[in-house]
Amino acid sequence: MSVFDNKSSESPSSCGLAGMSHNTLPLLNEVSHALKRLVRTGESTIIDLRAIPFGPGDEARLINLLGKGEVQATLDTLGKTTVTETRFAGVWLVDHYNSEDERIAFQIEIIDIPELLRAQTEDMYESLDLLGEVVEVEKQKLNGGSPAIQ
């Protein structure tokens, strides 16, 4: 027991893997290629991080390396989803949770803006109807009529 004594506070399996494990470095390369593609051709890329065989601590190291950029958004649909721009513009971390707060998907998106942040056409049509109804109700209120719907 020599080298390992001073590291005993760390978890046993992580102290041997101080650097990136073999799965993380290629991933970073892939991100950088994808960003190049986005800049040159406008083609976006999504990487499913749950398909990467991470070793202990790899994920934390990756997130740490990518850092935090200017944009952070939270969506509330079928549980929480956080969208975070990393310190590299155009590289986003999209983290999906279910209503029980368990992760159901985790992705890196290399795109100008993640699709999920855009208002969706179907939702906009629905909103159009809804807005029309609201306007109708307000109109009736102004006209002194009693509101028909809540």
């Binding site: 399996s13 065989p53 279910n98």
Partner: protein, 363 residues
Amino acid sequence: MAEKNTLGESLRRHGVSRRGFLKFCTATASLMALPPTMVPAIAEALEKAKRPSVIWLSFQECTGCTESLTRSHSPSVESLIFDHISLDYHHTLQAAAGEAAEAAREAAMHENKGKYILVVDGSIPLGDPGYSTIAGISNLEMLKETAKDAAAIVAVGTCAAFGGLPQANPNPTGAVSVSDIIKDKPIINVSGCPPIPTVITGVLAHFLTFGSIPDLDQYNRPKVFYGQSIHDRCYRRPFYDKGKFAETFDDEGAKAGWCLYKLGCKGPMTYNACATAKWNQGTSWPVESGHGCLGCSEPRFWDAGGFYNALSVPISDNSQTVAFAAAAGLALGAAAAGLNYKNKDEATKAHGTVTIDDLEKSS
């Protein structure tokens, strides 16, 4: 029972937005281990997906597979799927029992003839039908009867897929797998002891989404989950390649996270998704927690050598064989030497002296 409306419709009825639906599709793609580029196709398919009926039969098993399934870790995705799947018969999970349960099974079979999915866990005893029965019906009979009108069969767990633990030497019940009995239906083997929960639901989700069975490997296992060996996806692999091994479970190599090959890891011959899908809600997996792979998703893993012996080590104990063989070799060698000495001796005795004259005479 199978519903007429599609998944898309029922989600919308539940007030799920398009964003929510996209998120659902993303999670489903991830669950099925399909690339994110498949999300639009999944969305389109799920819009139209009809609610299938599922009949789940449990034979010679330990309920570990059902335990695994009910602990799959993304309830909202899965509950959406399972709300949508009609699990018409599962004798561990359903409230009804005995004849009422059998009636439900028969009703589901008739109503969805040719369209339901049959899920089986556990092996089937051929030794004596009395070894395992449900409501007095033998496993063999029930499997044949229920399989007849199924669209596809999913054999969940190594027992149903390959025979598993009940089949371990000397196989007292004469246990066999589903594919040993049913030859005329598509069978998807979801092996593992137990299989990874998300793999079970991923396979069911695939069927629900696309209405077809996924790409299968030589053992009829879905390639997306069983296409690569544990060894090839293992984060400890660089240590294997560099020749750095843990020699015991608590030496410095073990603490440094080196390869577990010498401690009996069967990762090199095992095909499963543990290294990526992981266990316990994605927390860790056996090799990550410091124990070698047992090879649980492979046929005969129980009889394929000691769990703590390196994979290359012979299955039978050879040290004695070698010692006996060496002794026998020595004895035979001594006998041969004795014979040789005798020959030599005789040759010497038979030796006559030849003179120059003799040689000249004969030439």
